[in-house]
């Protein structure tokens, strides 16, 4: 009996230091707590106009976001952006640049696990294009971001989120779109 009691006690101690995913509560998660920061990555693909042409845009980026409170988050985005021309063009048109952006997000729905954010922001791609030469293309965007988040005890990053997003992108040459998938780690 004494052995059983000791083993039960040890088992409890043993699990106390291992990381485990917390049961999601009904209220806002740690991700929405003011000051919570998230670092993550995002891959996007879309179609956007550029100087009378339409390009397939692929972005591979990092995002750093912080909760401001009242359901708002601000995110800085740094992407590697590839702009591929259509294959039927006689010339292989392609561009590459670094995209920097700033997005403001606001939670519009939240369940125990899933969330939806509305987001809007501004960005610019600066780089080089095979047809245009130097490339400096500003944009404004707005969209919807749907994902899930979870928190864990005894984890180095207490928060993890994964999200899918869809954005309409307004440029000087017209309207385009981009869809992305990303993940974030936060504390």
């Amino acid at each position: 009996m004494r052995v059983a009691l000791v083993l039960v006690l040890l088992a409890g101690v043993a699990h106390a230091d291992e990381w485990s995913i917390d049961d999601p509560g009904d209220g806002p998660t740690l991700r929405d707590r003011a000051g919570a920061t998230m670092l993550g990555l995002r891959i996007g693909i879309g179609r956007e106009p550029l100087a009378g042409d339409r390009r397939t845009v692929v972005t591979d980026g990092l995002q750093l976001s912080a909760a401001l409170g009242a359901g708002f988050r601000v995110a800085g985005e740094l992407d590697l952006a590839f702009l591929f021309g259509d294959e039927h063009a006689a010339m292989d048109t392609r561009g590459f640049g670094v995209r920097g952006g700033l997005a403001l997000r606001h939670g519009i729905a939240h369940t125990r696990l899933f969330y939806a954010d509305a987001e809007a922001g501004i960005a610019a791609i600066v780089g080089h294009d095979s047809r245009l030469g130097a490339l400096a293309r500003p944009e404004a965007f707005a969209g919807l971001r749907v994902g899930y988040d979870m928190t864990a005890s005894h984890s180095r990053s207490r928060i993890f989120e994964a999200a899918f997003d869809f954005r309409l992108v307004e440029t000087a040459d017209g309207l385009g779109w981009i869809a992305g998938v990303g993940m974030g780690w936060g504390s």
């Binding site: 990381w19 591979d60 010339m91 180095r156 990053s157 780690w185």
Partner: protein, 194 residues
């Protein structure tokens, strides 16, 4: 007898338990030093799209949250990417550093965000020519660590290389553009460590 059993239980638990450093977040998130996986790239040869898929092997060492790695890949080469006008082989050797930036989990298992960069050289062999050139890479990705003996990693990097004219590439119908002084391509690696 009871005392012996308790001591045995304590001894067993003592070895099964991770050291205190893990719980306090000091122990690095180690994965096995060998990765074997899939390799893919997209680049240009003389302004013509080129790339292919193959096998990648990586050996690495780790200090804290930093990893130093050496990698080698052998892959199929299609010149004229979509039309695959010419095909051949490419081989790449590289070395770099990787920073485990974030971890959802602990040293034993978890889900990591990493950022990496490196340099390398790639040799291309196709029916009418060959080329060797240096490159540099920068990218990020994630890894899933099941335990200390098994993990999966996936990442995408920008592949920067000097492209030039005058390469012996016969490619009728290929779309092409003037070679870029620094050609931005892509390099993808996904693999298992165990």
């Amino acid at each position: 007898m009871y005392r012996l059993l308790v001591l045995l239980a304590l001894a067993g638990t003592a070895h099964a338990e991770p050291p205190l450093a893990i719980a306090t977040g000091q122990e690095p998130e180690r994965t096995p030093p060998l990765l074997v996986g899939a390799f893919g790239d997209y680049t240009h040869l003389g302004g013509i799209q080129a790339g292919g898929f193959g096998v990648d092997v990586e050996l690495r060492t780790q200090r804290g949250r930093w990893q130093l790695f050496g990698e080698g890949a052998v892959a199929y080469l299609a010149v004229g990417a979509t039309s695959s006008e010419q095909t051949g082989v490419q081989a790449r050797l590289g070395a770099g550093a990787r920073w485990l930036a974030r971890t959802f989990g602990d040293a034993t298992s978890g889900f990591d965000l990493y950022i990496e960069g490196g340099v390398g050289a790639t040799g291309f062999w196709w029916p009418t020519g060959h080329l060797a050139r240096p490159d540099a890479t920068l990218g990020w990705g994630f890894q899933v660590r099941v335990d200390r003996n098994l993990s999966m990693r996936s990442g995408l990097r920008v592949l920067l290389a000097h492209d030039r004219e005058g390469l012996a590439v016969a490619c009728r119908g290929c779309t092409m553009s003037p070679p870029e002084t620094i050609d931005p391509g892509m390099l993808f690696v996904m693999g298992l460590t165990w």
